[in-house]
């Protein structure tokens, strides 16, 4: 009887040590697994941003140069006409693009939601632009929109000689061709998001409204659209970040022209940093893009937090 406890402890002690370590490891395993991605992403986001801020304050021209020289590149940036055009374009393009893509995407989603035949075909047609590079589609759209090769020429050949569709070459109108093409590319994706939302609505809700005698447009306006409210927010955020990052579309479609009428900030950054050897000013412009982004992101984050807290409060 007296011997037994001794053997028990001695037998147990050895594996206990290894076991404790293993259990410790098991409890922090999730954090360990997350750590490498976290490390990589944080470097990607914060170190790279920090680097750009540093460069924007330096005297870098041809190559990075790390001696700080102050904020004068920001001053120069804002005194540059092309930059103000680019920034104005950004806001004009972004608002039209977001509104247009949302409206068309929603309309398509509602149309497809009417139990149409060959639904998969329609969906594929509307979704495919997202799959093809802008390098390609931008070029093709240039052919289509240019008056000498595109729609205008075809209509002329058909005999309507006074037909005009030359937005691409009109300084004031060219930005709208960028909008048209941008909407063409993104609205299918928006449609998919909305369709996903429409499909997740409780059919009883619509039946109840129909029994209440509401017309279909009214049901959409008062019941269905409010029910997919959160999807609108997702769509907005996705579209906004697309819009602000717009680069290859403009390069392929207008090259920033006619003149400099359709320059956007991303092109400006690229030109200054890489073509013209004005790295610091280019970096300053990149920081301004980030600022524009945060105009979107900060309110979104606040809203999201507020919503999550509200939901948590409701239990």
């Amino acid at each position: 009887m007296a011997v037994e406890p001794v053997t028990l402890t001695s037998v147990k002690a050895a594996p206990n040590h290894g076991r404790m370590l293993r259990e410790r490891l098991a409890t922090i395993l999730p954090q360990l697994v997350l750590a490498p991605s976290l490390f990589a992403t944080l470097i990607y986001v914060f170190v790279f941003c920090g680097w750009t801020i540093w460069i924007s304050l330096s005297n870098s021209s041809l190559l990075p140069d790390y001696s700080i020289s102050g904020f004068h590149h920001y001053v120069e940036l804002w005194s540059n006409r092309r930059w103000t055009i680019a920034y104005t374009n950004l806001f004009l393009f972004t608002s039209l693009y977001v509104i247009g893509a949302t409206a068309i995407g929603l309309l398509l989603a509602i149309l497809i939601d009417q139990r149409v035949r060959a639904e998969a075909l329609w969906r594929t047609i509307y979704l495919y632009p997202l799959a093809v590079s802008f390098v390609v589609t931008g070029t093709v759209w240039r052919w289509l929109l240019s008056p000498s090769t595109g729609v205008e020429r075809v209509v002329h050949q058909l005999g309507w000689a006074s037909f005009k569709f030359d937005w691409l070459v009109q300084r004031e109108m060219a930005i709208y061709t960028v909008v048209i093409t941008g909407i063409w590319q993104a609205s299918g994706f928006v449609m998919a998001l909305f369709l996903a939302g429409l499909r997740s609505i409780d059919p009883d809700l619509v039946k109840a409204a129909q029994i209440d005698g509401a017309s279909m447009p009214r049901i959409y306006r008062r019941i269905i659209l409010p029910a997919i409210g959160p999807i609108f927010i997702s769509v907005l955020v996705v579209l906004l970040q697309f819009a602000i990052k717009t680069f290859d579309l403009v390069i392929a479609l207008t090259g920033g022209g006619p003149g400099i009428a359709t320059t956007v900030p991303a092109i400006y950054v690229y030109d200054l940093m890489f073509q013209r050897g004005q790295m610091a000013e280019g970096a300053a412009a990149a920081i301004m893009i980030l600022l524009a982004l945060s105009l979107v992101l900060v309110p979104y984050t606040i809203w999201k937090n507020w919503r999550e807290r509200r939901e948590a409060a409701r239990g």
Partner: protein, 424 residues
């Protein structure tokens, strides 16, 4: 037994050592040429260089980056920042001096002395290729910018016997063409094409203005009355273009001239490659002539493509750089490359009588005369003169002028001066 074994081992060892030392002495020349010649005939010309390199026993690789020159320069910067200097890069004009100033470029003086480059290369190029007196770049060709191409069909139809020599003559001829219901000038608008045509105008109207404004970057010259006059002439010309210029590729514009939809076309000699590829013939389908010049002298706006070599740690790449520099300067390559591209060799001692287009032969001849007349200049639009940031700012104003009908010549001149000053 022991001895024999030992002997065999010794022989084997010495053989291996011998092999090693052989490879060490005779490095396999390697290179990787970074360029923007990525497509069609350009790519074919570079592929030819690759064949020559391989035939000379080297290992050839090339990286071609399209579109925006910015892509090539971005790639160069990325490589430099990552610490991997590319062995050979297509760079031109002031960029050569800029990158030379970083101290990363490889001096080619030894091979230049051996092959007497100073004696054979066009003198105007020397200061570009030797920014600090030492050869760091190898010129591949000389492009002529101030060409005016004309549609034979249209000129015959309208009754223009001779290519116009001055801007006044040109304006008169253009009016005739317009009266006949044909587009006087074929054009595709982009910043570089708009600037190309404009520099031709400025050069043809006032060569001193060209030197002051576009070579020295003097902003007083940019807002001078002469510049305003040049913008006014340009405005006339823009009105003679069709409304579809924006977004049109330059080769599509060339096609308008070749097929008789338009009369004149201002573009550098690389158009010859396009003409040849389409099977169009000089004297039958199109005519070439020096763009109008009011001083009546032969003139030449020069552009040159060149390759800059960067310092390398790997002996194989050093050997490759020397081999490549040598090959580019051979008459053989200069001939093949320029026949494909429409330009003329950077060496003045190449015979163009065989295999070259008549316009190219004329180009070589005009180059000589222009040097004699003291009218040879480097191209501003093609980045052979002022720094990219000044050039870019000025080009923005020019392309904006073309695309903004109500932008007055006076305002454009002032705006250009201000844009350049803002970058100083």
């Amino acid at each position: 037994m022991y001895l024999a074994r030992y002997a065999t081992a010794a022989v084997a060892a010495s053989t291996i050592l011998g092999l090693l030392s052989v490879t060490a002495v005779y490095a396999v020349p390697k290179t990787n040429l970074l360029s923007q010649w990525d497509n069609g005939s350009d790519a074919a010309a570079i592929a030819k260089l690759g064949e020559m390199f391989t035939a000379a026993g080297g290992k050839w690789e090339s990286t071609s980056i399209a579109g925006h020159t910015a892509n090539t320069l971005a790639k160069l910067r990325a490589d430099v920042v990552s610490g991997n200097l590319p062995p050979a890069v297509q760079l031109k004009g002031p960029e050569i001096a800029e990158w030379d100033a970083t101290g990363m470029t490889l001096s080619l003086d030894e091979i230049a002395r051996k092959e007497n480059w100073d004696g054979v290369v066009a003198p105007e190029l020397l200061s570009v290729m030797k920014p600090k007196g030492s050869w760091v770049a190898v010129p591949m060709n000389i492009h002529r910018i101030n060409w005016m191409w004309a549609s034979k069909i249209v000129l015959d139809k309208v009754g223009i016997k001779e290519m116009p020599k001055t801007w006044a003559e040109f304006n008169a001829d253009a009016e005739k063409v317009k009266a006949a219901g044909i587009i006087p000038i074929a054009h595709g608008s982009a910043d570089w094409t708009d600037a190309t045509t404009f520099e031709i105008v400025v050069y043809g109207m006032d060569i001193d203005l060209f030197r002051k404004a576009f070579i020295e970057g003097n902003t007083d010259a940019m807002r001078s009355p002469q510049m305003v006059a040049a913008f006014e002439q340009y405005r006339k010309m823009v009105k003679w273009m069709d409304p579809g210029i924006a977004g049109r590729a330059w080769d599509a514009a060339a096609n308008m001239m070749l097929t008789g939809q338009a009369a004149f076309f201002f573009m550098g000699d690389w158009s010859i490659g396009t003409f040849n590829a389409g099977g169009f013939k000089e004297g039958v389908d199109y005519l070439c002539g020096q763009a109008p010049a009011d001083n009546g002298k032969p003139g030449f706006i020069l552009n040159s493509d060149s390759v800059v070599f960067f310092k390398q740690k790997d002996a194989d790449y050093l050997a490759g750089s020397k081999l490549l520099a040598h090959l580019i300067m051979t008459k053989e390559f200069q001939t093949i490359f320029n026949q494909a591209k429409g330009s003329i060799p950077a060496r003045l001692d190449v015979d163009l009588s065989k295999g070259f287009n008549p316009c190219q032969q004329k180009s070589q001849q005009d180059l000589g005369e222009s040097i004699k007349a003291g009218t040879l200049v480097r191209s501003f639009a093609h980045n052979m003169t002022i720094l990219q940031k000044y050039r870019g700012a000025a080009m923005e104003v020019i392309t904006e002028f073309v695309n903004t009908p109500n932008l007055a010549a006076n305002d454009a001149a002032n705006r250009m001066a201000e844009a350049v000053e803002a970058q100083q």
